[in-house]
């Protein structure tokens, strides 16, 4: 669960940062960035908490931060969590309230009209450091589980280098799906109708569709190289009880979202339904590919 949540949190940060990069504030605001600013910190704290509870000796969790081993994906992940947590803390609105000197308003530094150079250097430029800290950390968080699985000895996970890419794409579709549902309800920018009409929101359903198609492509490339034969994990993944869950995951997470390419022809409730199904499908896909090798 914390891997799934971590991927969503990283995706939220990344989408928020990209929204600020490509869109002017006057084009309906930055609803995703605003939501990311508020939610990344509590979500990542929740992830960290679940990770600590998952240890069989939770009291020794601090041992994960006693060294930095580039050869250990778990070590990289632990330090990434710390870096991302720091970025999420700095971008949180409450931090700005408590420490106005930080005054970090953006994921990226922007020179506003009428702002002097010293003001830009002292107020907006620090945001550039958060960008350098937060965005790569977010990308690592999104793909981390897949890379971790690739650097193991289980046949299904190690047969190709695409697991990290698959988990990254699952995180993008999951985050976009969650945003489709959450933005109209939770966005601090404005009422539901205005949020839904923004370019930011309109961009999300095609992202889900594109992500789903790419997941299918790279999953096919990965499974092509998986060892086949009776009893092999690839066979257990696609057949039997696990196979049913896997097939449902493919339909919900990859195939059904393709209708979102025609989102303008779809009623709003159907867009929401497909977004939720992509979230469920993405989770099921992670669960089935992970659990089949744990048996």
């Amino acid at each position: 669960m914390y891997f799934f949540l971590g991927g969503i949190t990283g995706g939220l940060y990344l989408l928020g940062a990209l929204e600020q990069l490509v869109q002017d504030h006057t084009e309906g605001g930055w609803p995703t960035a605003a939501l990311a600013g508020s939610w990344c910190l509590p979500l990542i704290l929740w992830c960290g908490g679940l990770l600590i509870l998952d240890l069989t000796r939770p009291g020794r969790f601090w041992r994960l931060l006693t060294q930095m081993k580039w050869t250990s994906p778990v070590s990289i992940g632990s330090w990434t969590l710390v870096g991302f947590g720091l970025a999420a803390l700095l971008i949180h609105p409450r931090t700005r309230d408590l420490f106005p000197a930080l005054n970090v308003r953006h994921f990226f530094p922007r020179h506003s009209a009428g702002e002097s150079l010293p003001q830009f250097i002292t107020q907006d430029l620090p945001a550039g450091w958060i960008h350098f800290l937060g965005i790569p950390c977010a990308a690592v968080l999104m793909s981390y589980t897949g890379v971790l699985l690739t650097v193991s000895s289980r046949p299904l996970w190690t047969c190709s280098p695409w697991m990290g890419a698959i988990y990254f794409l699952l995180a993008t579709t999951g985050t976009a799906g969650m945003m489709v549902v959450a933005l109209p309800v939770l966005s601090p920018v404005g009422p539901r109708s205005s949020v839904v009409a923004t370019a930011s929101y309109q961009r999300l359903p095609p992202l889900i569709a594109a992500g789903g198609a790419l997941v299918l492509l790279f999953l096919a490339l990965h499974l092509r190289r998986a060892p086949r034969g009776p009893g092999e994990s690839a066979e257990r993944l696609v057949r039997g009880d696990r196979g049913l869950a896997f097939r449902v995951a493919i339909v919900l997470g990859c195939l059904l979202p393709q209708v979102l390419w025609r989102q303008r022809d779809l009623p709003f409730f159907l867009v929401i339904t497909v977004a939720v199904s992509s979230l469920i499908g993405g989770y099921l896909l992670r669960w089935t590919t992970f659990c089949v090798e744990e048996e």
């Binding site: 000796r57 041992r63 778990v74 193991s152 289980r154 990254f168 961009r203 090798e293």
Partner: protein, 253 residues
């Protein structure tokens, strides 16, 4: 056999052509390390290594080319690899190498994150149900440090398990393989001389490693890290370009 002098690199050699499956090694390991007994009622008990079973005699049933059934007996435990993937994967530094080259788990440091478990290509390490921390064969390092052989070596009735200096054991192994081949075991070979930099537990096998469930070829998991990271970065960039296309409106909605 008692070691008179401190030896920097000791090893074990298991001549599986001489194993009779008596399980004395398994019992000795449990006794010396105070491990619980896991009964399953089958001819293998337990059926796999775990955090509470550090040595296991496996029974592999197969058919020979003449159509006759054959049982291969294989005493499985940690191989104490020179390039140990578990040690590389451990994020807390709990898995360390002793002066004699053995890979052991520091029980006071391990926090049970369990990422050493999938990292091991042999599946020999697990989390103990009793303590919650990683457990595996320690090569009886406390005995070896005192100049003694391992508990399993001491009790083995057929001298299938041999203990001593690595170089001497490898020479013994090659002599034994030569003898086996003269007697018709054409596929006899030594496993562990070079794999993962060399294993501290070597095996004289009578057939291909895959029959025993041993990985061949043996790839260190961390060798996949670079390619996996590059592949992920490439797809992330591709996704980023897609996002920019969607934003610019060049991709129709």
């Amino acid at each position: 056999m008692r070691l008179q002098n401190r030896i920097d690199e000791v090893s074990m050699l298991l001549d599986l052509s001489a194993c009779i499956g008596c399980r004395a090694c398994q019992v000795a390991c449990n006794e010396w390390n105070g491990l619980p007994v896991e009964l399953t009622g089958s001819c293998e008990h337990p059926t796999s290594l775990s955090g509470d079973t550090w040595m296991q005699v496996r029974v592999i049933e197969r058919q020979t080319s003449d159509g006759f059934p054959e049982w291969l007996l294989y005493s499985d435990s940690c191989k104490h690899c020179r390039e140990a993937p578990c040690m590389v994967a451990c994020p807390t530094g709990a898995i360390v190498r002793t002066d004699e080259g053995m890979i052991v788990v520091n029980e006071n440091v391990c926090n049970g994150n369990g990422h050493c478990v999938p990292a091991c290509p042999f599946g020999v390490i697990g989390l103990s149900k009793k303590t919650g921390i990683a457990g595996k064969c320690t090569f009886c390092y406390e005995r070896v440090a005192e100049g003694l052989e391992t508990a399993c070596t001491k009790v083995c009735p057929t001298a299938c398990i041999q203990f001593g200096e690595r170089k001497g054991l490898i020479e013994n192994a090659h002599r034994r393989i030569g003898l086996l081949r003269e007697r018709g075991a054409d596929e006899a070979r030594l496993y562990g001389e070079h794999e993962l930099g060399g294993l501290h537990v070597l095996y004289v096998l009578t057939c291909e490693p895959s029959v025993y469930g041993l990985p061949d070829p043996l790839v260190a998991p961390r060798e996949r890290l670079g390619r996996a990271a590059l592949a992920t970065a490439a797809v992330a960039l591709l996704w980023g370009c897609l996002y920019l296309l969607l934003t610019s409106g060049n991709l129709s909605l």
